[in-house]
Symmetry: C2
Subunit: 469 residues, 2 copies
Amino acid sequence: MFGARCLLLALRRCSSAPCPKHKQAARLRVCEALEAQEVAGDIKVQGWVRSVRSQKQVLFLHINDGSSLESLQVVADPTLEHRDLTFGSAVEVQGKLVKSLHRMQNVELKAENIRVVGPCDTLMFPFKPRERQPLEYSRQFPHLRCRTNTLSSLLRVRSEATAAIHSFFKDNGYVHVHTPIITSNDCEGAGELFHVRTSNKVQEPGENSHFFNVPAFLTVSGQLHLEVMAGAFTQVFTFGPTFRAENSQSRRHLAEFYMVEAEMSFTESLQDIIQVMEDLFKTVTSIVLSKCPQDVELFHKYISPAQKGRLEQMLKNKFVTIPYTEAVEILKRAPQTFTFQPKWGRDLQTEHEKYLVKHCGEVPVFVVNYPYDLKPFYMRDNEDGPQHTVAAVDLLVPGTGELCGGSLREERLHFLQSRLERYLDLRQFGSAPHGGFGMGFERYLQCILGVDNIKDVIPFPRFPHSCLL
Amino acid sequence: MFGARCLLLALRRCSSAPCPKHKQAARLRVCEALEAQEVAGDIKVQGWVRSVRSQKQVLFLHINDGSSLESLQVVADPTLEHRDLTFGSAVEVQGKLVKSLHRMQNVELKAENIRVVGPCDTLMFPFKPRERQPLEYSRQFPHLRCRTNTLSSLLRVRSEATAAIHSFFKDNGYVHVHTPIITSNDCEGAGELFHVRTSNKVQEPGENSHFFNVPAFLTVSGQLHLEVMAGAFTQVFTFGPTFRAENSQSRRHLAEFYMVEAEMSFTESLQDIIQVMEDLFKTVTSIVLSKCPQDVELFHKYISPAQKGRLEQMLKNKFVTIPYTEAVEILKRAPQTFTFQPKWGRDLQTEHEKYLVKHCGEVPVFVVNYPYDLKPFYMRDNEDGPQHTVAAVDLLVPGTGELCGGSLREERLHFLQSRLERYLDLRQFGSAPHGGFGMGFERYLQCILGVDNIKDVIPFPRFPHSCLL
């Protein structure tokens, strides 16, 4: 049998079934016809030419429409060749879909008519057939790099992962909330903020100098707004863009990136939050692997061969949990020398995170119960001591480092006094113990695909000195 | 039988099945037990108290956890009453779920233990039991209004509609793309832009005065970025926030709102785009109606009684398509006087839109082929004349007015010359005929629910002079 995706490609514009509603029925008919060694009815395939190979007797084309990594082979009479029929051109091919004799593909299209709807000047086009360019090269062409195999695979994986994240939460009874992008809050002093202003001409004379009457920023996290919603729904989530105006040239940071955030009411144990994080990672990754096996394979084959085995390990094993205090002890006993000496009360550095993950056998590690003084005000006081901690958790993953962060939130009014008025209001009216976490979506994609630079896992990266398109 | 949502509420924290994975199994067990008139095992329900009614013999509570409009009735011994057990407090009730004898509900919880985890000062709390406040009143409390019936219904509908939009496109083979929020483009001069800047202290001396080296704005539309993607995928969509810095105090505009946008390659007919718009509206609305019947009913009963019948009409009938030129003729022949006189070449005003929808029998109307001079550069020239038009379409719906806008895009290089360089680049390399549309998500919610003010269909509204939380 042939792959459904490849067939979908062929059937997308199948002339016998122009309506999306009938696609399924048409697919079955074609499957049956092909299994019975018959030819399918007339089909029209549309896409971009990935290769042209002209022989004396026959013309071979490969057409791709973005629905899969695989292209459809078109077999045509050489008389159908046309000077505009080049790599990169947009074509419509009409013909019959037949079972292929070639062992590498299941179906091929016997062309009866080829129409070039959009030619492509191959000399000017920055990509060439059968050339694998480094990701850095493609990044210069944000408007064209989606036509390369690597980026189109990435975009399919990203789309599937997005859908899987929505369905994971929906299946588990979470309500989705669009937390605001423009906000007058600075969630946790999580970093430098972008300011949102209007051009001066919008302001009318005598008006307050701010459009919103108050200074407005781009959100760094939807957490506070999710906490609002967690006062009416026991489980809520958001999945949207967040921003940092930090001037860092890093492979792990962007000025605009996506975060998955969840908040759960009536949660009194960090373990409940840890369980959701582990389930989310494993469920979404399993769905992506089953929906886009070829796309993930491309990354594991050409971009990061080590990641395939690591990912299998991550899915197979239970994630490890270690308290921060124990983590520091492990680091102190480590046979290696660190640039930053591990010490209770200090933040874990990337070198420490890497060591801990290795120490635990290259599986994801939850580090829990961080020092009180290291974490923001809203995290729940463990009331322990003298090594005073809060119920916070970070998830460290092989290769990528910190992927998620979460905590129980301080629900007790008297622990929060003299803080934000509205934040206190939430605690005053039916405050339930709750907690939540956030996962960086680009970090997640870096992790499962083994992509080194975060700029290569987002369609239009924004970072200092760059905002192309 | 009792409703699944109500049961889900009771089972969410069912002590016999703490793991989400076993919820389904537990649900079946409880269903069977109840059908056999037996009592279910011990259950722990968590939520917020919606009413307390104390009688001599028995204490009645209604508990809501946000999973449905319906609350769960708790029946307890009056000795379990506690002074903190008030409207708005967060409670955990442990007991047995039994079949209710009351005809209005299917199950009730016989409490064995009640714990108030978060008291609520009812004097300070801005909402009172059994009081229906106007939406304007609730809007003053963005951090608490989600606890009212109306807003919690709205948020459930919004969450279901969001999921339905994602699944509509996914089921039809579209790839989801996160188009950027910060952009250096002004898509179509669609309105005033918000500028994105850093505070001055981030800039290092000698640096370019912009974080991104170029002026950066909040996006007004993801269309150009979707068009980039439509050069590699035949069908793409995005669903994210868009922004307008317009100083309008309107019931139909927000500074931050959500748009669903789709782009389809190899589309040469406006009819194909119209079909997707109609399918999207009908499919998503049917899903919302089937998943949240009570929540939609609340709006149709208390907020906008006229909308229920209208919505049924919209779903039952085929939408109407009329060319702009014909629309102007209809308006000219209208027996009513308009403030703005209809004339070929002028924009349709709200009064015109309303008349056209009424004229067509209160069903949604697609107006197609607008004057060339009214529409932005990227819309496809119909090359007709002397009344020169472009292949544009607007969808007008009863009650709400303009809901969607779309067009075929100009794919022909020579029609676009002297425009954006990158936009031209797209046309130079395998340019396929394509088109797309956008739908305002808040307008959509206003339309199906009959909500007059757009500020009441978004969790945290942003508009001139207001950015609460």
